[in-house]
C-alpha cells in the first residue's frame, strides 16, 4: 500500500475522528465533550466525501455538526450541572464493559479481516445530488414521506413533552 494523497487524507481524518471520540470519553467538562465530538462529526463528513457521497457529507455537517450539537448545547445549558467529575459507575462494571467491548471489537474485526470484496469503478460522484434526488422522489418516495410524518410527530411530541411539564413545574413552584 503506497502513501498516496488519498491515503494521507484518510489517515488524518480517521485519526481526527477517533481522537474526538476518545476526548468525548476522557474529558471532564460536559461542554468540552460536545465540542470534541464536533471534530468527529466533521471528520466523518470528510470520510463521506472520500466515499463519493458529497451530499451526505453536506447533510452531516449541517445536521450533526450544526443542529444536533447546538441542541445538545442548549440541553446542557437549560439543565443545571454540577459539572465536573461526572465519572460514575463502579470500576468493576467499567472493566467488565471494556473487556466485553474489546472482545466484541476483536470478534467483529476478525470478521472484517476475512472480508474481501474487490473494489469496482463507480460513477457515484458524478451528479451525486441529482442521483439522490431522483432516487428519493422515485424509488424511495414512500419512506421519504413517512420520514416527514415522523419528523412532524417528533416535533409535536417534543413540544408537548417539554411544555406540559414545565407548566406543571411552575404550578408546583407557585
Amino acid at each position: 500500500m503506497t502513501l498516496s494523497g488519498e491515503m494521507l487524507a484518510f489517515t488524518l481524518l480517521s485519526l481526527a475522528a477517533i481522537m474526538g471520540g476518545i476526548l468525548l470519553i476522557t474529558l471532564d467538562r460536559v461542554v468540552h465533550m460536545v465540542i470534541a465530538l464536533v471534530f468527529t462529526f466533521i471528520s466523518i463528513a470528510g470520510i463521506y466525501v472520500m466515499l463519493s457521497a458529497e451530499f451526505v457529507a453536506a447533510v452531516q455537517v449541517l445536521i450533526y455538526s450544526g443542529a444536533i450539537t447546538i441542541i445538545m448545547l442548549f440541553g446542557i445549558m437549560l439543565t443545571r450541572h454540577n459539572d465536573t467529575n461526572q465519572q460514575t459507575a463502579g470500576i468493576f462494571r467499567k472493566l467488565l464493559l471494556l473487556l466485553g467491548i474489546a472482545g466484541f471489537g476483536i470478534a467483529v474485526y476478525a470478521g472484517i479481516y476475512q472480508l474481501d470484496i474487490p473494489p469496482e469503478e463507480t460513477s457515484l460522484h458524478i451528479d451525486n445530488t441529482r442521483k439522490i434526488g431522483t432516487a428519493l422522489y422515485s424509488r424511495h418516495i414512500i419512506p421519504f414521506e413517512l420520514t416527514s410524518v415522523l419528523l412532524l410527530a417528533a416535533l409535536v411530541g417534543a413540544i408537548i413533552l417539554a411544555k406540559k411539564d414545565s407548566e406543571k413545574g411552575e404550578e408546583e413552584e407557585g
Binding site: 459507575a89 462494571r93 467488565l96 464493559l97 466485553g100 467491548i101 472482545g103 466484541f104 476483536i106 470478534a107 467483529v108 476478525a110 470478521g111 476475512q114
Partner: protein, 631 residues
C-alpha cells in the same frame, strides 16, 4: 273404562311428581324469610299435588303397562348414557308410599314445629328430601338412581343436623353421612363394574345381560354383594346400622319420614329393583338373607332394654328392615315389598304418635312416662293400632306381611333363618308392648307437666296412617286373594307369579309367638306379676350388654376410629414435615433465587444496556471462535 291412551297419558306426567317438592324447596329457599309460618302451607300444598299425581300414575300403571321415557344424556364413545323415568309396578307403588307419607309428615310438622323459628328452612329441607326420594324411585338406570341416592343422603344429613346447635345432633348428622357413605362406595363400585361388563347403566339391559350369560357367575355375585353393601348403608343393616338410632336426634317428623318410612327403605327398594341380579346368584341371596336375619334379631334384642322412646322405635326400624332383607334374600320378593309398604305406614304412624307423646310430656325417657292413655284420647288408640300392626297381631297389616316373610323363609328351607325370624317376631311384640305399657298405663312419673292432646294438624295424619296400618294388609292376604303379589310380578320375566302360602301352621305359630310376646310384656309391665328382674335386672351382664347395644359403637371407636386416627396423625406428620418441608423448601429457594436475580433489576437503563450488550458480546465471540457466522 279408560282406553289405553289415557293410561299412558297418566304415566307420561310422572316426571312432574318430583318437581313439586323441588319447587317447594326452591320457593322456600328464595322466599322463606318473607313467608315465615306461611311456608308450611306451600310445602303441604305442593306435596299434596305430588301425592295426587302419584295416585294417578299408580292408577294408570294398574290399568296399563310399564311406561318408560328416556333421552340421551351423555354420549361418550360407544356408550350412550340416558336419563328419563320409568313407571313399573314397584316404582308406582313407591311413588304413592313416599308422596303420601311425605304429605302427611308435612302436615304433621305444621303442628309439631310451630314454635320453631327456622320453619321455612325445615320445610325447604323436607322438600329437597322428598324431591330426591321421588326422583330415586322413578330412575330407569343405576346412574340416575345413584345421583338421587346421594341427594337423599344429603337431605337426611341436613335434617338430622337441623338442630345444629346441639352437639349430639351435629355428631349424629356427621355419623349418618359417613356411615352411609361407606355403603355408597360399595354401590358405586358395583355400578361401575356393571357398566364395565354390560356397557349400560340401564336396569333392563343389565338384567338381559345377566340372563343371557354375558357376565360370569363370580362377577354377578361380586356386583350383587357390592350393591347390597350400598343398600346396607342406607337401610341400616348390621354392621352399618349404628347411624340410624343416632339419627333420632333430628326432629321427630323427620324420623318418621326419613328414618322409618322412606329413605331407609331405599336400600330395600334398591335390592328389589335389582332383584334379577340377586336371583342370578345364590350366594348373594344367602348373604342378603343372613345379614337381614342377623340384623332383625340383633336390633330387636337391643330394642328390649332401651329407654328412649325414639331409640326403641329406631331399633325396631332396623329390625324390620332386616326382616325385609330376609324376605328378599329368601326369594320372597312380594313379601319384602309388601312389608316395606305396610311398615312404611305403621312405623310412620308410630313415630308420629311418639312425636305427639313427646310433644305432650317433653321427655323421651319411657321410664318417666306413664298413664297417658286417658289424657291423649287420640294418640293413645292410634299408637295402640301401630303397636298391634308391628307386633303381627291378626287382622292388622303387619300380620299379613310378616306371615308372608315367615312363609318365604320356611319355603326357602333355611330353618336357622326361619328360627331367627320367629324369635325376632317375639322380641318385636315384647318390646313394642313394653313401650306401650310403660307410656300409656300406670301413672305419670314426671311431675309438673300439663299434658294435652296435640293440635288437629298432628292428629289428622296419625288417623289416616292408623287407617292405612289396619287396611293396607288386605291387598295381599291368603284369604281374600293376593292382588299385590300377582300385580307386582305380572309381566316380569324374571319373577314367577307367586304366592307362597306355606304351611298353614306358620300363620298360627306367628300369631302365637306375637301373642306370647304381648302377654309377657303385659305380665311384666302392666300387672307386675313377673318381676322385671326375672331374666336379669339392671346391672346384670345381659342387660348391660344389650343396653350398650352390644358395644358396637365402642368397638368401632376402639378399632376403626382409633386406627384411622392413628394413621391420620401419622400421615399428618408426614404431610407437615416431609411434604410441607419439601414444598416450603422449594418455595424458599425460589424466593431466594428471585431475591438474588431481582438485584439486577436496578431500574437503571445503563445496567440493563450493559447486561444486554455483554450477552451480545459473548454470543458474537462464540460465533467468531466457532466460525458460525463467517465460517
Amino acid at each position: 273404562m279408560l282406553d289405553k291412551g289415557d293410561e299412558d297419558a297418566m304415566m307420561e306426567i310422572a316426571w312432574i311428581i318430583p318437581l313439586f317438592p323441588l319447587l317447594s324447596f326452591l320457593l322456600l329457599l328464595a322466599a322463606g324469610r318473607v313467608l315465615k309460618e306461611k311456608s308450611a302451607y306451600i310445602g303441604i300444598l305442593l306435596t299434596l299435588c305430588s301425592f295426587l299425581f302419584s295416585v294417578l300414575v299408580l292408577w294408570g300403571r294398574i290399568r296399563g303397562d310399564t311406561y318408560k321415557a328416556e333421552a340421551d344424556w351423555l354420549n361418550i364413545g360407544e356408550a350412550h348414557i340416558k336419563a328419563g323415568f320409568e313407571v313399573n309396578q314397584l316404582n308406582a307403588l313407591m311413588l304413592v308410599i313416599v308422596s303420601l307419607v311425605s304429605f302427611l309428615v308435612h302436615l304433621y310438622s305444621k303442628g309439631y314445629m310451630q314454635r320453631e323459628d327456622r320453619l321455612p328452612v325445615f320445610y325447604a329441607y323436607l322438600g329437597l328430601f322428598t324431591f330426591a326420594m321421588l326422583g330415586l324411585v322413578i330412575s330407569p338406570n343405576l346412574l340416575q338412581l345413584y345421583i338421587f341416592w346421594e341427594l337423599v343422603g344429603l337431605g337426611s344429613f341436613l335434617l338430622i343436623g337441623f338442630y345444629f346447635y346441639k352437639e349430639e345432633a351435629k355428631a349424629a348428622a356427621k355419623k349418618a353421612f359417613i356411615m352411609t357413605r361407606i355403603g355408597d362406595v360399595g354401590l358405586f363400585i358395583g355400578m361401575i363394574l356393571l357398566f364395565w361388563k354390560t356397557g349400560s347403566f340401564d336396569f333392563q339391559v343389565i338384567f338381559q345381560e345377566v340372563e343371557g350369560g354375558g357376565i360370569t357367575q363370580s362377577m354377578i355375585t361380586l356386583t350383587a354383594i357390592l350393591i347390597f353393601i350400598g343398600a346396607m348403608g342406607k337401610s341400616g343393616q348390621f354392621p352399618l346400622h349404628t347411624w340410624l338410632p343416632d339419627a333420632m336426634e333430628g326432629p321427630t317428623p323427620v324420623s318418621a319420614l326419613i328414618h322409618a318410612a322412606t329413605m331407609v327403605a331405599a336400600g330395600v327398594y334398591l335390592v328389589a329393583a335389582m332383584y334379577p341380579l340377586f336371583l342370578a346368584s345364590t350366594s348373594a341371596m344367602l348373604i342378603v338373607a343372613s345379614i337381614g336375619g342377623l340384623t332383625a334379631i340383633f336390633a330387636a334384642s337391643i330394642g328390649l332394654v332401651q329407654r328412649d322412646i325414639k331409640r326403641i322405635l329406631a331399633y325396631s326400624t332396623v329390625s324390620q328392615l332386616g326382616y325385609m332383607m330376609l324376605a328378599l334374600g329368601t326369594g320372597g320378593y312380594t313379601a319384602g315389598v309388601f312389608h316395606l309398604m305396610t311398615h312404611a305406614f305403621f312405623k310412620a304412624l308410630l313415630f308420629l304418635a311418639a312425636g305427639s307423646v313427646i310433644h305432650a310430656v317433653h321427655t323421651q325417657d319411657v321410664e318417666e312416662m306413664g298413664g297417658l292413655w286417658k289424657k291423649l284420647r287420640i294418640t293413645g288408640p292410634v299408637f295402640l293400632i301401630g303397636t298391634l300392626a308391628i307386633s303381627g297381631v291378626p287382622l292388622f297389616s303387619g300380620f299379613f306381611s310378616k306371615d308372608e316373610i315367615l312363609s318365604s323363609a320356611w319355603e326357602n328351607g333355611n330353618y336357622v333363618l326361619f328360627g331367627l325370624a320367629v324369635i325376632a317376631a317375639f322380641f318385636t311384640a315384647f318390646y313394642m308392648f313394653r313401650l306401650f305399657f310403660l307410656v300409656f298405663s300406670g301413672r305419670l312419673k314426671k311431675q309438673g307437666v300439663l299434658v294435652h292432646e296435640s293440635p288437629r294438624s298432628m292428629t289428622f295424619p296419625m288417623i289416616i296412617l292408623a287407617v292405612l296400618a289396619v287396611i293396607s294388609g288386605y291387598i295381599n292376604t291368603p284369604w281374600f286373594g293376593t292382588f299385590l303379589g300377582s300385580w307386582l310380578t305380572e309381566g316380569n320375566p324374571y319373577l314367577e307369579p307367586e304366592h307362597r302360602s306355606g304351611p298353614v301352621w306358620i300363620m298360627g305359630a306367628a300369631t302365637l309367638v306375637s301373642l306370647a310376646g304381648i302377654a309377657l310384656a303385659y305380665l311384666i309391665y302392666r300387672r307386675n306379676s313377673i318381676s322385671r328382674e326375672w331374666l336379669g335386672g339392671e346391672g346384670s351382664f345381659l342387660h348391660t350388654v344389650l343396653y350398650n347395644k352390644y358395644y358396637v359403637d365402642e368397638f368401632y371407636q376402639g378399632t376403626i376410629v382409633w386406627l384411622t386416627g392413628f394413621v391420620s396423625i401419622f400421615l399428618s406428620y408426614i404431610d407437615r414435615f416431609i411434604v410441607e418441608g419439601l414444598v416450603n423448601g422449594i418455595a424458599a429457594s425460589i424466593h431466594k433465587l428471585g431475591r438474588l436475580l431481582s438485584r439486577f433489576q436496578t431500574g437503571q437503563t445503563q445496567h440493563y444496556g450493559a447486561i444486554a450488550f455483554l450477552g451480545l458480546a459473548v454470543l458474537v465471540i462464540i460465533f467468531a471462535l466457532t466460525g458460525g457466522m463467517f465460517g
